[in-house]
Amino acid sequence: MSSIAPLTGAAQSEPPLFWLRLRRSRAALVSAVILIIITSLALLAPVIEFLLGVDATRVDLFNQYAAPDSTHWLGTDEAGRDVFVRLLYGGRISLLVGLVAALGAAVIGTTIGLFAGYHGGWLDTVLMRTTDGVIALPLLPLLIVLAAIDLSKLGIPEAIANSEMASLYRIVFIIAIVGWTTVARLVRAATLSVRTREFVRAAEAMGTSSAKIMLRHILPNVVSPIIVATTLSIGVVILLESVLSFLGLGIQPPIPSWGNMLTNAQELATRAPALAIWPGTVIFVTVMAFNFLGDGLQDALDPRSVRR
C-alpha cells in the first residue's frame, strides 16, 4: 500500500496543478466566461426568442431598420427581422461550424502528425513536404473554388446537395481539409520526442503493433498540443466561415450565420451602420476569446513554458 500511495498522490495532483496554472492567466479565465455566456445565449436562442415575443425568421417590411427598443434589443435589419435573436441563431451556426471543423481538422492533423513522426523516413518526408506546400498556398482562393463546386457533379445525391443544410456540411468539410496543417506539425514534433522514450521502446520490444503504439502510447502523450492547437483553430475557423459566408460562398440564407449577416452590410453602410457593427463585434470578441483561451491553455498544459 505504502508504495502505491505516492503514485496516486502524484496522479491526483495533476488536475489541480493544471487548474492552478490556468487560473493564473486572467485573460484565459475571462475568455472562458465570455465563451460560456455566448454559447449559452446561442443555445437558449429559442427560449429568448419566445420570451421577447419576436420571430427571428419573420420578414416585416413595415418595420425595417427599427431602432433598438424593449422588444427588438438591437433593432431590426433590412427585412425587418430582429437583429439580436438572429445574432443568437447565427451564433449557433458559427460556433457549431467552428467546433466541428476544428475537431475534423484536428483528427486529420493528428493522424498525419502521428504517422509522420512515428514512422519517419520517406513517409515523414512526403507528409511534411505536403504540409509545407499546403501552408504556403494562397488558401482563400482555393477555398472559394471548393465552396463554389457543384455537389451534384461529385455524385452526391440531389436531395442532399440541394438541401438547406448542404452549405453547412460543405463548409465544415472544406475548412477541415485545409486546416489540419498546424496540428499535424505540432503532433509530429511531439511524437518525435515521445518516440524515443523508454515506454515506447519497451512496447516495441514486446512486439506491439505500430498502430497500437501510436494510439495507446504516443497519442495520450501528445494530447496537450492537440488541445491547444484545436482551441486556437476554432477562432481561425470562425474567421474563415465568416469571410466565406460574407462573400456569399459559405452558409447560405435563410440559415443565419455571423458572416452572412454582414453580406448586405456594405451596401447598407450609410443607411444602417449598426447592422455592420453588431455581427462583426460578436465575431471579433468570440475569436479573441478563443485565442486567449488557447494561449492560456498552452501556458497551463506545457510545464516547460515559462511566462515570458
Partner: protein
C-alpha cells in the same frame, strides 16, 4: 548554390503541377458549363450546335484527358482566353498582378516597419504595462475579421468623416502618387491583418536572442543598451522573422483577395474571385496558378535572404535541409 537552385525550382514545379491538376479537376466540378451559358445567352444557337462546340473544344472528353490537352497547350505558351473579357488571360492578369504587388509590397513594408519596433519595445520590457498593451493589440489584430475591419474603415473614414474614398482605383492612367488616396485604406487594412502576427514573432524572437551569451558579453564590455539591442540583438532576431514572413506570403495573398474585393481595388485577388463567380474558368485557373507562383517565388526569395543575412548558413546547409 546551383544544386540548391535546381532543387528549389524542381520543388516549385512539382507544387505548381499538383496545384494545376487539383484546380483543373475542381473547376470541372463547378456549376455552369461555359458552352451551356453561351447557348443560353444566344438564341441563334441550338442544342445541336452546343454538342458540336463541345466536341470542337474537346469538352466531351473525360476530365483527365482535358487536363492533358490543356497542359500540352499551356506548356507551349498558350494559356488561353478569358470567356468574359474575350482576351488572352495574361493580358488581363498581368496589369492586375502589378496592382496586387503594389498593395502587398506597401502593406508588407508597413507591417514590418511597425512590427519590429513594437516587438523590440515589448521584448525589452517583458511583463510591463507596455508589453501587456502590445500583447492585447496583437491578439486583437489576429482576431479581427479583415473584411469587417475594411467595413469599419469605410464606415469611419469614407462615410462618416469623408476623408478618403470608400473604394476604387482612381483614373487608370494616373500616376502612383495620384492613386495614393485610394491606397491608404486597403494598405491599412492589410497591414493590420499581418502586423499582429509579425509583432508576436518579433517579440518572442527578440526575447530568445536577448538571453544569449553574446548579449551578456556585449553588455559586459560596456556597450550601451541601444547598441546591444539593435546591433547585436535585432540582427539575430531578424532571422526567424524572415522565415515567418516568408511562410506568411500565402495568407497575405488571401488577405489581398479580401481587401481588394472590399475596396473595389482592381488586383489579382478580386479578379480570381470575380472569375470564379462569373464562370470564367480559364481565367480563374491561370489566375490561381499565377498567385501560387508569386507566393512560391516569395518563399524562395526569403530563403535566399535567410542565407544572406546569416553568415552561419550557407547554401550547402539549405541544400541539406
Amino acid at each position: 548554390m546551383l544544386a540548391f537552385l535546381t532543387r528549389r525550382v524542381l520543388g516549385m514545379t512539382i507544387v505548381l503541377a499538383v496545384m494545376s491538376f487539383v484546380v483543373f479537376m475542381l473547376i470541372g466540378l463547378m456549376p455552369g458549363d461555359p458552352i451551356d451559358i453561351m447557348i443560353a445567352s444566344n438564341p441563334e444557337l441550338t442544342p445541336a450546335d452546343g454538342e458540336r462546340l463541345k466536341r470542337l473544344h474537346g469538352l466531351d472528353l473525360p476530365l483527365w484527358e482535358r487536363y492533358r490537352n490543356w497542359l500540352g497547350v499551356a506548356l507551349s505558351g498558350d494559356l488561353g482566353f478569358s470567356r468574359t473579357y474575350n482576351r488572352p488571360v495574361l493580358d488581363i492578369l498581368l496589369p492586375r498582378l502589378g496592382n496586387t504587388v503594389i498593395l502587398l509590397g506597401l502593406s508588407s513594408l508597413a507591417a514590418i516597419a511597425i512590427a519590429i519596433p513594437l516587438g523590440v519595445i515589448a521584448a525589452t520590457r517583458p511583463q510591463s504595462p507596455v508589453d501587456g498593451a502590445i500583447n492585447l493589440f496583437c491578439f486583437a489584430g489576429i482576431s479581427v475579421p479583415p473584411f469587417w475591419l475594411a467595413l469599419i474603415f469605410i464606415l469611419l473614414f469614407a462615410v462618416t468623416l469623408g476623408w478618403l474614398p470608400a473604394g476604387g482605383m482612381g483614373a487608370p492612367d494616373a500616376c502612383l502618387f495620384a492613386r495614393l488616396e485610394f491606397l491608404v485604406l486597403p494598405v491599412a487594412t492589410l497591414t493590420i491583418a499581418s502586423l499582429a502576427g509579425y509583432t508576436r514573432f518579433a517579440r518572442s524572437a527578440m526575447i530568445e536572442v536577448l538571453r544569449q551569451d553574446y548579449i551578456r558579453t556585449a553588455r559586459a564590455k560596456g556597450l550601451g543598451p541601444a547598441r546591444t539591442v539593435f546591433g547585436h540583438g535585432l540582427r539575430n532576431a531578424m532571422l526567424p522573422l524572415t522565415t515567418i514572413i516568408a511562410l506568411d506570403f500565402g495568407s497575405l495573398f488571401s488577405g489581398a483577395l479580401i481587401t481588394e474585393t472590399m475596396f473595389g481595388y482592381l488586383g489579382m485577388g478580386k479578379l480570381i474571385y470575380d472569375s470564379i463567380l462569373g464562370n470564367d474558368f480559364n481565367l480563374a485557373l491561370v489566375g490561381l496558378l499565377l498567385a501560387t507562383l508569386v507566393v512560391l517565388i516569395g518563399n524562395f526569395l526569403a530563403d535566399i535572404a535567410y542565407a544572406v543575412l546569416d553568415p552561419r548558413i550557407s547554401f550547402r546547409a539549405l541544400e541539406a535541409a
